[in-house]
């Protein structure tokens, strides 16, 4: 039996290159081995391929002409339509054409278009006010449908733009999405309403947070490096942001909240519109952004109750950068197990 292989072209639009840097940190045998394991042929990648200049242009032209079949087009970075709608904030070097022109043209040939990173998905950081480069996403302009390809765009396979959001996304999100597409396993029902694969987007960054006991008792960090919950004062949006961020390790064992700083909701459209990322916005002392689907009154009542019940250990550790009060030891009978 002939193995079915998948051709993949990766282009960097208005990007920082961070999504590529993230995926180069994929664990195991590395990204190239992972692509090979998924029977993916890399037609060209700006950071990895030998082909340069005229050789690279020939690859792009061949895809554009339909001579080389393109199964997956990966776009990393915002689509820049400025200044004044000209697209000249990014010319694809050596081609005399704007990147937005190339993206639209190549997308029409692609089986599936994949937005890697929040920039390509929704516009991302370059879209922040005053949006100097007139940035947009592939199929969303912030949270609004549209973007460079338009709301109605579908790849040849019928899928809308697949949005591996994140700034930068976990390398696993990228590799697993591409591998699932190559295996024919990713279907429209596997995507949420913004095109994000549900395998990571059906979770919240809050799930599995190492600070969960502090969250439960509303025992809050007051300054950077404190061990307490980052939500009340330090801007954490993990209860509102999608991603299985705290259910898998970043660079081995890390995550944003484990690293001691707020989740800034980087998987969400328009996350860049926030002002004062590192301070929780409050009205009358109450955080504005509460957990996505929790009735506010319930949250406030539970918070008040749990604050009043906070053990001294949790209260003191929350405002320290190391454990100052270890878990207590209960008196136990032989055969009962546990600390004792």
């Amino acid at each position: 039996m002939t193995e079915r292989r998948t051709s993949l072209l990766w282009l960097q639009a208005g990007s920082c290159g961070g999504c590529t840097m993230s995926v180069l940190g994929h664990d195991g045998a590395g990204i190239f081995a992972a692509l090979e394991a998924a029977a993916i042929d890399l037609l060209w990648h700006p950071s990895a391929s030998e082909a340069t200049g005229a050789e690279a242009r020939a690859i792009l032209e061949s895809v554009e002409a339909g001579t080389t079949a393109l199964d997956v087009l990966v776009i990393e970075g915002s689509i820049l339509t400025g200044p004044n709608g000209s697209g000249r904030c990014q010319m694809l070097a050596g081609t005399g054409r704007t990147m937005v022109d190339w993206v639209r043209s190549l997308s029409a040939r692609a089986g599936v278009v994949v937005a890697v990173g929040t920039c390509a998905a929704f516009g991302g950081i370059p879209m922040a006010e005053p949006d100097p480069a007139e940035a947009t996403g592939l199929q969303f302009d912030g949270a609004d449908r549209g973007g460079a390809l338009g709301a109605g765009f579908r790849g040849r396979s019928g899928l809308p733009v697949v949005a591996v959001a994140g700034c930068a996304p976990h390398p696993g999100w990228i590799v697993e999405t591409l591998s699932a597409i190559a295996a024919g396993e990713l279907e429209a029902g596997d995507l949420d309403g913004l095109g994000r694969p549900k395998f990571f987007a059906d979770h919240l960054a809050h799930h599995g947070c190492s600070r969960n006991e502090f969250y439960e008792f509303k025992a809050s960090a007051e300054r950077a490096s404190d061990r307490g919950c980052l939500m009340e004062h330090l801007g954490c949006k993990a209860t509102q942001a999608v991603g299985d961020c705290n259910q898998r390790g970043w660079n081995g064992s890390g995550s944003c909240t484990d690293g001691g700083y707020a989740c800034i909701g980087c998987t969400s459209p328009a996350f860049e519109t926030a002002r004062g990322f590192l301070t929780t916005p409050k009205i009358a002392g109450i955080p504005v952004g509460l957990p996505l689907d929790m009735p506010k009154a319930w949250f406030m009542a539970l918070a008040a109750l749990s604050k009043s019940a906070t053990p001294k250990r949790v209260r003191l550790n929350a405002v320290s950068d190391h454990v100052v009060v270890p878990p207590g030891r209960a008196k136990r009978s032989p055969g009962e197990g546990g600390e004792g």
């Binding site: 990007s15 195991g28 950071s47 990895a48 030998e50 200049g53 070097a93």
Partner: protein, 483 residues
């Protein structure tokens, strides 16, 4: 005369186009274009000060820690916070991890694959180099990528993740390392050392650091390992004679608090590469000139500049402005850092021509990699148990200052002005803004533009591999260049 355009110029970070004029097989003029502009300097204006810590790292995915530190240093420069010692060490460890990863990524993924090109198929040295360094399929990348991922596990311990961490603050770092973390950091560095000593250098790192002259390099070249293989190919292809630098290099000083006396690990300075004369780097002598950039305005000090795009500007051909020091171009990067730090080997590398070269840049980077691992081991050992990693931050309402760091590719500076707790000005001059600058108002070319002139490309024209070697020897980061 023929005019050729090389692009997309890949295996660099970001977008690059190089325009060349060739006469009788020789480059007589080069123009370097940065074709991407996102507008970070404009985005930062009007935001609360701390938002710079969120936005600035996202300028660049490959040197995001450097961008974080430049922003954080700019804030610290006028709010007077003294960082916690452990935070200083943890910052240095993470910053060195990023710079080390970048040096190695450059060598294995960006620079060496050009020697596996078909154009070299007839060379005596070709077969093993092709098998080892072929882009994507070579044995080196299969070995290197897991080692790189292991190195970046340092970020998981100190910075939460990489790229784009929020761990780096004026007062220190946000995650305290306990005893287990410290042991894990040590174990990661042991694995990194093992990779370098087995694969790259095939000798102890201390022996690499001890190389003091060209004879020492020749002895290495006779041995095993990827560094030796590079040295042999460099000799065979004359990399020590091409890509001549502008004659002046600079370093802003690297790893604050990481030196033996709590000062810099690598000294700052400006060095004349012909005479070896060293002088202090004075940031007030920096001017940025938009004469050939798609921006309005005149040359002036970055601290008083704004970035206002002007796509119709006559004579403009790049989104990068031209930084100049006392009116002249400067080269920055590992070779500049090592020369400013007084490295005997770095001096030996530039002695023959009085200029930096392709070979000098690559050797300086790899020898610096060896120095960094040794330094990181010392910093991990110096982490003090129970002591804080961060002092309370600061909330500056008014002030202005500049943050200076050395990214892998050289000096990075952020100028920031704050009024009423909001950023009112923000200007960035990145390493490749120096190295790949366009012409200035006086018509003086940037360092790469000058380094390409005189290069023999023969019949191959744009396809000549020497163009690839010269351009990539600078390890350009184009996303930083124009931001």
């Amino acid at each position: 005369m023929s005019r050729i355009v090389v692009g997309p110029f890949n295996r660099v970070e970001g977008d690059l186009e190089v325009g060349l004029e060739v006469v009788d097989g020789q480059i007589v003029e080069a123009r370097v274009t940065t074709p991407l502009y996102r507008g970070f300097e404009q985005i930062l204006v009007g935001r609360p000060v701390d938002d710079a810590l969120v936005m600035a790292p996202r300028i660049c995915g490959i040197c995001s820690v450097s961008q974080s530190l430049a922003a954080s240093s700019a804030i610290a420069s006028f709010c007077g916070v003294e960082p916690a010692r452990n935070g200083v060490l943890a910052t240095a460890i993470a910053h060195a991890a990023e710079n080390l990863a970048d040096h190695l990524t450059h060598f294995y993924l960006f620079f060496m694959p050009d020697f596996a090109r078909e154009a070299y198929a007839g060379a005596a040295w070709y077969a093993p180099i092709e098998a080892r360094f072929r882009a994507i399929r070579g044995t080196a990348s299969a070995t290197f990528l897991p080692a790189r991922a292991r190195l970046l596990e340092i970020m998981g311990l100190i910075a939460g993740k990489w790229p784009h961490s929020l761990a780096f603050r004026p007062g220190g770092t946000t995650r305290s390392l306990d005893l287990g973390d410290k042991v894990r950091a040590r174990a990661i560095l042991a694995d990194v050392r093992r990779f370098l000593e087995r694969e790259l250098f095939a000798m102890p790192l201390e022996a690499v650091v001890a190389i003091a002259d060209l004879d020492g390099l020749d002895r290495v070249a006779a041995g095993e390992g990827d560094f030796a293989a590079f040295l042999r190919v460099a000799a065979a292809t004359g990399l020590d004679r091409i890509g001549l630098g502008p004659g002046r290099v600079a370093s802003l000083g690297a790893y604050r608090g990481g030196g033996v006396d709590g000062g810099l690990l690598f000294a700052a300075g400006v060095v004349d590469t012909a005479s070896g004369a060293r002088a202090a780097f004075e940031v007030d002598r920096v001017r940025e000139d938009p004469a050939h950039a798609w921006f309005a305005g005149e040359a002036g000090p970055p601290g008083r500049a704004v970035s206002e795009p002007d796509i119709e500007r006559a004579e403009a051909y790049s989104w990068a402005k031209a930084p100049r020091y006392d009116g002249e171009a400067l080269e920055v990067g590992a070779i500049g850092r090592q020369l400013a730090d007084g490295s005997a080997l770095a001096q030996a590398l530039v002695a023959a021509s009085g200029r930096t070269t392709v070979a000098a840049r690559v050797v300086a980077r790899l020898v610096e990699a060896a120095r960094l691992v040794a330094a990181m081991e010392g910093w991990v050992a110096a982490l003090e148990r129970g002591a804080p990693y961060a002092q309370a931050g600061c909330q500056p309402t008014d002030g202005s200052g500049v943050g200076l760091v050395e990214a892998a590719r050289g000096g990075l500076a952020h100028w920031m002005t704050v009024r009423g707790g909001r950023i009112t000005r923000y200007q960035i001059v990145a390493p490749t803004t120096w190295n790949f600058s366009p012409r200035d108002g006086a018509g003086r070319p940037g360092p790469l533009e000058a380094a390409l002139v005189g290069l023999e490309v023969g019949e191959a024209g744009a396809a000549a591999p020497v163009i690839q070697h010269v351009v990539r020897s600078f390890d350009p980061c184009m996303v930083c260049t124009a931001h």
